[in-house]
């Protein structure tokens, strides 16, 4: 019964996000959609010509492979980083309010709450909406890469394995995101900070050291253990194996296992910490 009402509230909240998004696209459609597509296409073109320049005229075939390698990194990394950043961002957008008439502070959660949508449901629906947006963006990257720039993902690409790696990688990043979301309550809540330094540090380090642009073998030996502390490293290794080399599921077992363990521990820990800390801060420390 309770879950039924949560589901209905979720549907209403999701519809609200969609309605707002549609309005933004509708109001700015002449700039919004073409700019978004152009942004992706220009980003891809930069990498496309960069790889040709790096490989040189003699490296026929290698430039295409290098471009495919990079494409998988730049298409998927926003999705992974979104999993890390979004839980804290959802909290920040819900609790950060603007000061209105008479010094009245109006956070977004009050709007949802007064409409009968619990905070948690509003946060989850916002998260799911962002996830869909990032999924579409990742799909656009891959589609434009394949159809516009002739990327070949290997003759026997293992799409199912790649999808599984991506899903587990996203869940692992989400777990990290849940752990890092606690930094909002612990450090950010009172401050006028627009960037969370903890999630920023994690995503930046993970993007560079996790192998978005290059294989981890090129890193100094002392830095590699740090790279493997990020779920990104397993995602990119597994993804490239599956799509560029057509590795079967068994060959991806190391990455799958690592990501499963990562996701399970991080999600449990993150959810537990978040629940307890939020409960303490919101109810006991009376900061609502």
């Amino acid at each position: 019964m309770r879950w039924g009402s949560y589901l209905r509230a979720f549907a209403r909240s999701f519809k609200r996000s969609l309605k707002d998004y549609t309005v933004e696209v509708y109001v700015w459609w002449f700039a919004y959609l073409p700019t978004e597509l152009l942004n992706i296409a220009l980003g891809l073109a930069s990498w496309y010509y960069y790889t040709r320049f790096v490989v040189g005229p003699s490296g026929a075939g290698r430039a295409e492979w290098f471009f495919s390698y990079i494409l998988l990194g730049i298409a998927i990394v926003p999705l992974l980083n979104m999993g890390v950043e979004q839980p804290e961002m959802a909290l920040r957008s819900l609790y950060r309010g603007q000061v209105s008439t008479g010094g009245f502070r109006v956070p977004l959660w009050a709007y949802y709450y007064l409409a009968g949508v619990p905070r948690g449901v509003a946060a989850v629906s916002g998260f799911v909406f962002s996830l869909l947006q990032f999924l579409v963006r990742a799909a656009l990257y891959l589609a434009l890469g394949v159809y516009l720039f002739g990327v070949e993902l290997g003759p026997s690409a293992n799409y199912a394995g790649a999808a599984l790696i991506c899903a587990l990688g996203f869940l692992a990043c989400l777990g990290v995101g849940l752990v890092l979301a606690n930094t909002f309550w612990l450090f950010i809540y009172r401050e006028d900070v627009h960037v969370n330094p903890f999630t920023w540090l994690f995503t930046t380090a993970a993007t560079v050291l996790g192998g978005t642009y290059f294989p981890l073998e090129v890193l100094p030996a002392w830095l590699r253990p740090l790279s493997y502390a990020f779920p990104h490293a397993y995602v990119f290794e597994g993804l490239r194996k599956a799509l560029l080399r057509g590795a079967p599921l068994e060959a991806l077992s190391r990455e799958l296992l690592a990501l499963t363990a990562y996701a399970a521990v991080a999600i449990l820990l993150g959810a537990l910490l978040l629940r307890e800390i939020e409960r303490y801060v919101v109810y006991k420390a009376r900061k609502v």
Partner: protein, 374 residues
């Protein structure tokens, strides 16, 4: 009485934490500021303070009652309403709305309350670049309410003609009406209105105050109406709760409060003289507690006096004027206004706090109107 209790507050306490920077905290930008502020706190750069916004507040609101919450700025009116709306948690004490505990039943609370925070509702509920109707529908959809509710709310606040105008095109008065409309989309047993008519012109305010009365009398809803504009409270409230520094210093009808404070009524008398003005004025003034004004214009005596019992004074005045052969032209009795009550209460409490002898009964105020609703 015999009406159900819609809202109950018992010994509510609300404390806010505030921090003051007492030392240098480097501003680094880029989020690392957060780290430094944490370090600053640990190193004692921040001084923690606790501000008590509410202190043992208790009261009840019955079905169909419009109760005014009065108090100066910072007296705790908004905090009290936010607690009852579930938007902030009490530190101690208990509050129930329609049988729901504001802490334990927090999630179910929005079903039984409508919170109208005045113009703040616009920043909270509206996208200014979209139309009035679009914004109301957006809220109604989110709350799972039917579309007809939007039309009804627009009609009640007389915004039907502006339904297709963008919110940023509206005047302040219409924005205030839209803020009310957001509340009226959802009908509830308890309306919590926090200075809802700020910026509204007098003629519109009269209509909106009638609407508040209608909610109570026709819909059977209860209204807790926080304001520091006493004339508004005077028009709609059957009872007032006066807050001062987070405490309830009065909870009664304005009329009873005036009695309790021994505030006097004022009586205006106009007489066409057939005797010496000075003698008549002296006789009348002697029967009053205080003479406020004596004027003679030609053969007309105009007298204003303050009295504890207007009935006795008026009876005496009629007899005395006739006995002297003069003609009584005009008599008007004015009860103490809510403003008189409010100011007397505040001065009494301030005096008590400062351990100064309270002004003796009989202190007069310049009366400007009658106490309504009592």
């Amino acid at each position: 009485m015999g009406r159900a209790e819609v809202a109950v507050a018992e010994k509510l306490v609300k404390e806010y934490e505030s921090y003051e920077i007492t030392g240098f905290v480097p501003m680094t930008g880029f989020g690392l500021y957060a780290l430094f502020t944490v370090l600053g706190e640990k190193l004692g750069k921040y001084e923690r303070r606790v501000v008590r916004a509410l202190d043992g507040v208790s009261f009840t609101v019955r079905e169909g009652e419009v109760v005014g919450v009065l108090g100066p700025n910072g007296s705790g009116k908004t905090t009290l309403l936010k607690i009852l709306a579930g938007l902030t948690m009490p530190t101690r004490g208990r509050a129930e709305v329609a049988g729901l505990d504001v802490v334990k039943d927090h999630e179910r609370l929005p079903r039984v309350i409508t919170y109208i925070p005045g113009l703040a509702a616009i920043s909270l509920f509206a996208r200014p670049e979209m139309t009035v109707e679009w914004n109301l529908r957006r809220f109604a959809d989110l709350a799972g309410l039917p579309r007809e509710a939007v039309r009804e709310a627009l009609e009640l606040v007389e915004l039907v003609e502006d339904a297709h105008r963008r919110v940023y095109e509206l005047s302040t008065g219409k924005l205030a009406r839209l803020a009310i409309a957001f509340g009226l989309v959802k009908r509830s047993p308890l309306y919590l209105m926090d200075e809802p008519f700020t910026g509204v012109s007098p003629e519109v305010k009269v209509k909106l105050l009638e609407l508040v009365k209608w909610l109570a009398s026709e819909q059977g809803s209860s209204v807790l109406y926080a304001t520091h504009i006493l004339s508004e409270a005077e028009q709609v409230c059957s009872r007032v709760i006066v807050l001062h520094q987070g405490r309830v210093i009065a909870d009664d009808t304005p009329r009873n409060l005036a009695k309790e404070l021994e505030l006097m009524e004022s009586v205006d008398v106009e007489v066409r003289l057939a005797e010496e003005a000075e003698k008549l004025a002296r006789d009348l003034a002697e029967r009053a507690d205080r003479a406020l004004k004596v004027e003679v214009e030609g053969d007309v005596l105009k007298l204003t006096v303050a009295v504890r019992s207007s009935r006795d004074f008026v009876q005496y005045a009629v007899e005395r004027v006739h006995a002297g052969g003069s003609k009584l032209l005009y008599v008007r009795v004015r009860e103490p206004t809510l403003e008189d009550v409010y100011l007397a209460l505040l001065s009494k409490h301030k005096a008590a706090e400062e351990k100064v002898v309270v002004a003796p009964p009989g202190v007069c105020y310049i009366f400007t109107g009658g106490v309504g609703g009592g």
